[in-house]
């Protein structure tokens, strides 16, 4: 781990510089939308821009106080993504195609809420290792969050998926978005405690060291949870996300490729089962394979959305039509599920590639924090959380470009929707904390908490060798 030790320099000034750049990009996008539409620059440009700028700078100050050594790139990248997303949502509002043409105000409000909660998380937790104490609380919370939409009266099915909870008349929320954080905490806690146990070797087939059958328990549970989400809530995207999260975390905990192989087999099995037995999955797959068949294009719940998205992106081409000059509103759900297609149309392949690179930087910085983290829990948690962001990007971008079947996952930080914004900002807060703890000077860490690094369960260390 020694090569990962960085000099304890705070680098907050670098963050401030990058943050100003990110704000300039966001405001620039907003400005272009304004001048390219007939409305011209609106009052919203000033208010929403100022709002975002003030919040980001406050966040920056909070980091200076409570997470001085946090990674300086994570916050600016997140602000840039969030800002560009806001500009795009505002742009689609201007087209006045949907009944609800004030999504951007709601989005900026949710951004505010999400950032404030993320700051509260920073302040309240301070040291991510505290979360380890809540391993099983997190499991219970996950189960509650996943079951909430199933409660009659509270849960509402939208577009066929039962993943929403409605509070009052206007506020709807997707508790599953938060469940990915609580599940990551649970997996990290469970795996860091029981790592040695799971590492016990089972049978060996060729180069694969299989785990013991009884240790497969958690894997099976995770698989069942994913299938449950798919069957009961009809949410293919979250199902893939939860299972992917678990697979990566167990792989990082054990470094055994056999887990990945077993997981993949289970995933394929589950996928085939879902394709054969579940109408909405069959439709998705058919819409993916035969998207351009006019019958499927015009069918209810057919491939119109993805095909229109592809037309939009094709129309944008290499350079894009320019913000405000295309017609991304022709794509259903252009401001949420299909925001990548909308961006592809208006800022072109070059612009959307830049956004993909921003995501890659974000995920990479998260994984960098994992590498530098001094405890197994932190490593697992940071890897898991970063990976969920990356996997979401892959599932949604792959879906929009017809690389894989389209599933309704939110594009992190960009898609309109409060739940996703909130959970992703909390993820950012946690990644910032972990990176802070990874990079701060050793002494500080010693004084912060009594327990230093994660201790392995008290079991004979040579048990593994003994088995061999």
């Amino acid at each position: 781990m020694s090569e990962l030790e960085t000099a304890p320099v705070s680098r907050r000034n670098m963050e401030l510089l990058l943050l100003l750049l990110a704000l300039a990009v966001s405001m620039g996008a907003y400005y272009l939308v304004g001048i390219n539409s007939d409305q011209g620059l609106s009052q919203e440009f000033i208010t929403q821009g100022l709002f975002l700028a003030v919040l980001s700078l406050v966040f920056h100050v909070i980091l200076r106080i409570w997470a001085k050594y946090a990674d300086p790139v994570i916050l600016p990248v997140t602000v840039a993504l969030n800002g560009i997303g806001l500009a795009m949502i505002h742009r689609i509002d201007l087209a006045k195609i949907s009944r609800d043409s004030d999504q951007s105000s709601r989005q900026i409000l949710w951004t505010g809420v999400a950032m404030v909660i993320a700051m509260v998380v920073l302040w309240a937790i301070r040291d991510h290792r505290i979360l380890r104490r809540f391993t099983y609380t997190a499991l219970a919370a996950s189960i509650v969050l996943l079951l909430l939409p199933m409660i009659p009266g509270l849960g509402v099915p939208i577009n066929g998926a039962r993943i929403w909870v409605r509070i009052g008349d206007s506020l709807s929320f997707q508790p599953g978005e938060l469940a990915k954080i609580t599940l990551a905490i649970f997996f990290a806690g469970y795996l860091s405690s029981n790592r040695e146990l799971i590492l016990l070797a089972g049978k060996r087939i060729g180069p694969l060291q299989l785990p013991r059958l009884r240790d497969l328990g958690p894997m099976v549970v995770a698989w069942l949870v994913s299938i449950g989400v798919l069957v009961i809530q009809r949410d293919l995207g979250s199902s893939i996300l939860f299972f992917g999260l678990f697979m990566v975390m167990i792989y990082v905990a054990t470094a055994r490729v056999s887990w990945i192989v077993i997981g993949m087999l289970m995933l394929v099995g589950g996928g085939v089962f879902a394709y054969l037995t579940m109408g909405h999955v069959t439709r998705r797959i058919n819409g993916w394979l035969n998207a351009f068949d006019p019958d499927i294009y015009y069918a209810q719940g057919g491939s119109r959305q993805i095909v229109e998205g592809l037309f939009g992106m094709g129309d944008g081409g290499l350079l894009g039509t320019g913000l405000g000059n295309g017609s991304p509103y022709l794509v259903p759900l252009a401001n949420s599920d299909m925001i990548i297609a909308a961006l592809g149309e208006e800022i072109g392949l070059i612009g959307v590639s830049a956004i993909v690179m921003l995501y890659l930087i974000l995920v990479s910085r998260g994984m960098r924090a994992a590498l530098g983290s001094r405890d197994a829990f932190g490593k697992l948690l940071a890897t898991g959380l970063s990976f969920t962001v990356g996997l979401q990007c892959f599932v949604i971008i792959g879906g929009v470009t017809r690389l894989i079947p389209l599933t309704g996952l939110a594009t992190p930080f960009m898609a309109a929707g409060g739940s996703s914004l909130l959970s992703n900002w909390i993820i950012v807060a946690l990644l910032l904390l972990i990176s802070h703890n990874a990079r701060r000077p050793m002494q500080a860490s010693l004084s912060a908490t009594a327990e230093v690094a994660t201790e392995a369960p008290r079991r004979p260390k040579n048990l593994k060798e003994a088995k061999k």
Binding site: L4, F292, V352, V356, L360, V363, S364, T383, G398
Partner: protein, 479 residues
């Protein structure tokens, strides 16, 4: 553990590389294919916000784009929509665009080759491309006249053309519809209107021009082609006496029109047979000549050929490899021989123009917004259908029906008219297809006229063909 994290990172990078690859494929490599996909309406959306050229008849717009406050910046407006429905077609996001709105789209939107330099100048000066106007060969007055000659509740088409140039002066069909109803912006409204139009008239298909698209049994008008084959063989001339039995059984069971004048003469001259449109002599002629000359003649006159005037004309059908019995039926315009009104008009044009068919054409010129003429139609030869001598002889034979025979009611005093009538019957149905195709003046043809009514009772049909031809010719020659 760190190695596993690094491996995970590599896996994530690979996922992102896949994303970038997929994005590059969609936005760069497949962009062209996607833009040209039939389901893609984006180009259309852009077009709807641009000023579109007008379609002109006699210098006045019958289709034009007017500024609109609706969903798009312009609304397409049609003047006398029913009259021109099948020529202009309609320009609709929901229902697609049809006819001239479709085939002349490049000119109307300013995207044609001729407008390239204007486009380049606009690119640098920042002005929007303006579409060019398309002026038709149609004569507005004549169009109105022929349209009104078709009674409502019938299915009829009338074409008037100039044999020497191929220019079409009038082309109208009924039942027609209001193109404005289909050009509305609201897709809900446009869909409802389309449904209403089709429900009100199940025989109407709004996106097809009946004069160019409907394939019908040509009946006895097909005998003009028999005459070409017969005279070209050298075995027949106007005075050749031919057997004219009431009934024959070889090559096929056939009879002359019951109680007709044909029945009075068991043997008659070719001139008499053409004037009275007797059937059996043509069946015997087909047996005598065999199928090859017929196939040959049909091809020269345009059967089986794709034509764009610039509206697409459905190829007429002359069946291949027929048995003698089938050929005998085709010789009187039956069996599987099918022709469009345009095809039978081309037959008349060919005979009128010394055997040379000029390519039918609807567009006189394309005019840029600055009134510069971008392109002007020049008469083009379609085919040499037969020689001048044969054409002259057939012209003479076609004077017969108007003077003394089946087309007497088309006669205009003092006007030399050549025409051939036709009545296609169907087994089991009392309704017929009524035809007339011809030209005038026979010695110096100025117009070729074709009238057809589909599935109409015989007396009504025959009262709507020859007498209407008379009215059209009277109007054209001011008599």
């Amino acid at each position: 553990m760190n190695q596993a994290i690094r491996n995970t990172w590599i896996a994530v990078v690979m996922l992102f590389v896949l994303c970038l690859g997929a994005l590059s494929y969609v936005q760069f490599f497949a962009a062209e294919t996607l833009n040209n996909n039939a389901l893609n309406k984006r180009q259309l959306f852009r077009e709807f916000d641009l000023p579109r050229g007008a379609i002109l008849v006699d210098g006045k717009p019958i289709a034009e784009s007017k500024p609109s406050e609706g969903q798009f910046k312009f609304q397409r407006v049609y003047t006398d929509p029913e009259l021109y429905a099948f020529l202009t077609g309609f320009y609709s996001l929901t229902n697609g665009s049809t006819q001239l709105e479709s085939v002349m789209n490049d000119e109307l939107t300013g995207q044609s080759q001729d407008q390239f330099f204007d486009r380049m100048i606009n690119l640098f000066s920042g002005r929007a491309n303006e579409g060019a106007s398309v002026e038709l060969t149609i004569d507005g007055k004549l169009q109105k006249l022929v349209y009104d000659l078709i009674p409502d509740n019938t299915r009829g088409s009338i074409i008037v053309s100039e044999p020497k140039t191929g220019n079409i002066l009038a082309m109208a069909s009924k039942p027609s519809f209001d193109t404005n109803l289909l050009a509305v912006h609201s897709s809900k409204q446009a869909t409802e209107n389309m449904k209403k139009i089709i429900d009100e008239n199940p025989k109407l298909s709004p996106s097809r021009n009946p004069a160019l698209y409907n394939l019908m049994s040509p009946g006895s008008t097909f005998k003009i082609l028999d005459l070409v084959a017969g005279l070209e063989s050298g075995k027949y001339n106007a005075d050749t006496m031919l057997e004219n039995p009431d009934k024959i059984t070889d090559p096929v069971k056939m009879s002359n029109f019951v109680d007709g004048i044909c029945a009075s003469k068991p043997e008659a001259s070719l001139a008499f047979i053409v004037a009275q449109s007797c059937n059996t002599p043509f069946a015997l002629m087909s047996k005598e000549l065999g199928r090859e000359p017929f196939e040959n003649v049909a091809e020269r006159f345009g059967f089986g050929q794709q034509l764009n005037i610039p509206l697409r004309v459905q190829p007429s059908v002359f069946p291949q490899n027929m048995t003698p019995a089938e050929l005998a039926q085709v010789s009187i315009g039956g069996f599987d021989a099918l022709a469009t009104a345009m095809q039978m008009n081309m037959v008349a044009m060919g005979i009128a123009n010394d055997g040379v068919i000029m390519e039918p054409n609807l567009v006189k010129r394309v005019i840029a917004p600055d009134l510069k003429v971008l392109s002007e139609a020049t008469p083009k030869k379609f085919s040499t259908a037969t020689s001048k001598e044969i054409a002259d002889q057939i012209t003479d034979l076609m004077r017969g029906p108007v003077k003394t025979g089946t087309a007497k009611r088309a006669a205009v005093p003092g006007l030399d008219i050549a025409a051939k009538t036709g009545t296609a019957t169907f087994t089991g149905i009392s309704e017929v297809n009524s035809w007339i195709t011809g030209f005038a003046p026979a010695n110096d043809p100025q117009v070729a006229v074709t009238i057809v009514f589909e599935r109409i009772d015989y007396p009504t049909g025959s009262s709507l063909t020859s007498p209407n031809m008379k009215k059209i010719l009277e109007a054209v020659f001011n008599q």
